[in-house]
Amino acid sequence: MTIRLDPNIEAPDDFYQALIDTHRDLDEAQSQLVNAKLILLLANHIGDMQVLREALRLAREDGVQLLRSQEI
């Protein structure tokens, strides 16, 4: 399987709000822990190593590009 990059969440705004709400009143360290758990839970749900590797690559590629553009 390849990773889905077309919109797949029915109510994107609801999801986004739920994501931000999950972190309400948490400090940086707590948020980091919650994010880590979230990633692990979702990764296990996906299970497919090919999809996971693609997601890991995309996440890092974009992140690195962003950092570079900020440096300029």
Binding site: A29, Q32, L33, N35, A36, K37, I39, L40, L41, N44
Partner: protein, 558 residues
């Protein structure tokens, strides 16, 4: 730990008077690896001389966990029973976070194996049993206080210079097996290196004597109340000795941490105020993972810690070193006897180097989990642990040491690739899995019936064995390198003649995906080198020639 006087007695080597001599194989180092190499060779009638600089057994806190595969090898060497009856058997591990247990696991969830997943036994006991075993073999000689100070390789021999209390002598051999430990003077003498990484962490390793109510299990704590922010491991050994590992962190001062006034309160806090114990040994270690680029250098073969080193999480040091010798001994034997070309030794490197990489990979991953290298790595570690309390999926991510399992030589040039379809976990390059068998002479185990020679496992199912088949087996037995056949019948079909076994619980058929006519060819180290649904003598001769690195079958015969 001392050996009995007769075993450790030093005698002036005769070569000091009589001049140089040549032996087929010299093993440098009488640690567990060198001793296993020498016993294996001695059992196969290869004259072997073991030289060790020291005259005592392993000191201090070293290996305790010996894995199933090692026990099977020790069985073949004639030491398995002693090791298992002295050691403590365990199958269960528990993982704790702070003050609570997260989960427990079973290492050998399957029955129908002669040996348990692991035993715990102090390294010095294993070494003692091995020294005593070697002593019974007419072809094995062990010399303590014989320090090798120089090696010189020639196209046709290796020249070894040895220092003893009575002076120096030079001795020659066809092949030298360097089992001289992590610092390996042999490696240095040949200008070679072992490369890898040191982990920036320190561990206090204590062996403690106590009568305690803890069960015989492996307990691993992350961040326990008695040792905040670090990990702790508790493990039982023979004689009411317990191994305790405290992670200390990189900044700890090893000299300070070793002092009894620091160690005792730490252990007391862990065991509770009422526990009574005495300290047997304390040391502070840093661990590393590294290996040599190649394990074969001409006529010198490196094995054990000399060739590769891992952190102890996973118990892969001595276990993998003993597997090195399992791989090497039969090859040396056939070469020394002129039954296989010298290039067969290249396969030692081709098979054991990937095995070392596998061990290093597992060991590195465990160390990364136990000692996270960054804030985010720590966050994922903690998240995994917290999830593991409630969710099975996260338990599979917790890594407090992936305990030693044998390597499958799946890319080995000695394998004959499958021509027929097979479904089981067995495959060319894999070590034979055990299964219970029954025969005219009573119940036995597959693992005890094989090894030390080429074996053909022939599954006849419910069919009778034809006259033609029997003639084929007879012809295989008469090959220059003989192949012995073990006939296995289906569950319920009584075995009535010699080397005829019944698959009593049907586990052989299951584990080997065997149907009537299925045959497996095993090397002397019990690894599979070929298998068929239907076979003939010619395909077996061809597969054997390949497993001997011979170009043609006639090369084996010459």
């Amino acid at each position: 730990m001392q050996l009995t006087e007769t075993l450790s007695q030093y005698r002036a080597p005769p070569e000091i008077e009589s001049g140089r001599r040549r032996v087929p194989v010299i093993v440098v180092g009488a640690g567990p690896v060198g001793l296993c190499a020498a016993i294996d060779l001695g059992l196969q009638n290869v004259q072997t001389l073991v030289l060790d600089a020291d005259d005592s057994l392993s000191e201090g806190s070293r290996a305790i966990c010996f894995a199933k595969r090692t026990l099977e090898i020790l069985d073949r060497l004639g030491c398995g029973e002693r090791a298992v009856s002295k050691g403590v058997v365990w199958n269960t591990g528990k993982v704790f976070l702070q003050d609570r247990m997260l989960y427990q696991f079973d290492l050998l969830p399957e029955s129908g194996h002669k040996r348990p997943a692991f035993i715990n036994l102090q390294q010095h006991y294993l070494e003692q049993f091995l020294v005593e075993r070697l002593h019974t073999l007419p072809r094995g000689e062990l010399r303590f206080r014989n320090r090798v100070t120089a090696v010189a390789q020639h196209p046709d021999r290796v020249e070894v210079t040895v220092e003893t209390p009575d002076g120096r002598y030079v001795i020659e051999c066809d092949y030298l097996v360097a089992c001289d430990g992590a610092r390996s003077p042999m490696r240095q003498a040949l200008g070679l290196e072992s490369k890898g990484q040191v982990f920036r962490d320190r561990f206090l390793i204590a062996d403690v004597k106590m009568r305690a109510g803890f069960p015989t299990e492996r307990w691993f704590w992350f961040d326990p109340p008695f040792h905040r922010n670090q990990s702790v491991l508790l493990h039982r050994q023979a004689d009411d000795i317990w191994r305790i590992d405290f992670q200390l962190g990189w900044d700890a001062n090893p000299e300070e941490e070793r002092k009894p006034e620091r160690v005792m309160p730490r252990i007391q806090a862990m065991l509770g105020p009422d526990a009574k114990f005495t300290l047997e040994w304390v040391s502070v270690y840093t661990f590393q993972c590294r290996r040599m680029d190649r394990f074969r250098h001409g006529r010198v073969l490196f094995a054990g810690d000399a060739a590769h080193q891992v952190s102890p999480f996973g118990a892969r040091g001595a276990n993998s070193g003993i597997q090195d010798t399992d791989n090497l001994a039969w090859k040396l034997k056939l070469i020394v006897d002129g039954r296989a070309p010298d290039t067969l030794l290249d396969s030692y490197d081709a098979e054991r180097r990937p095995a070392a990489d596998e061990n290093i990979l597992h060991s590195t991953r465990s160390t990364d989990f136990i000692t996270p290298k960054s804030g985010i790595s720590r966050a994922f570690r903690d998240a995994t642990l917290q999830l593991a309390e409630h969710h099975a999926f996260a338990r599979s991510l917790v890594n407090s040491g992936r305990l030693s399992t044998p390597s499958t030589y799946s890319t080995s040039p000695l394998n004959t690739p499958d021509g027929d379809a097979f479904g089981a976990r067995m495959r060319p390059g894999a070590p034979a899995i055990d299964a219970p068998l029954d025969s005219r002479d009573g119940a036995s185990w597959l693992i005890d019936q094989i090894g030390g020679r080429f074996d053909l496992l022939y599954f006849t199912g419910t069919q009778a064995v034809s006259e033609t088949m029997r003639n084929t087996f007879e012809s295989l037995r008469r090959l220059p390198v003989p192949v012995e056949t073990l006939i296995i019948s289906a569950q319920g079909v009584r075995a009535d003649i010699g080397r005829f076994f019944e698959d009593v619980d049907g586990l052989f058929a299951e584990r080997y995906d065997a149907r009537s006519g299925t045959a497996y060819l095993l090397r002397p180290d019990q690894h599979v080198c070929a298998r068929w649904r239907r076979f003939d003598a010619a395909s077996i001769r061809k597969a054997q020639a390949r497993a001997l690195a011979a170009e043609t079958e006639t090369e084996v015969a010459k």
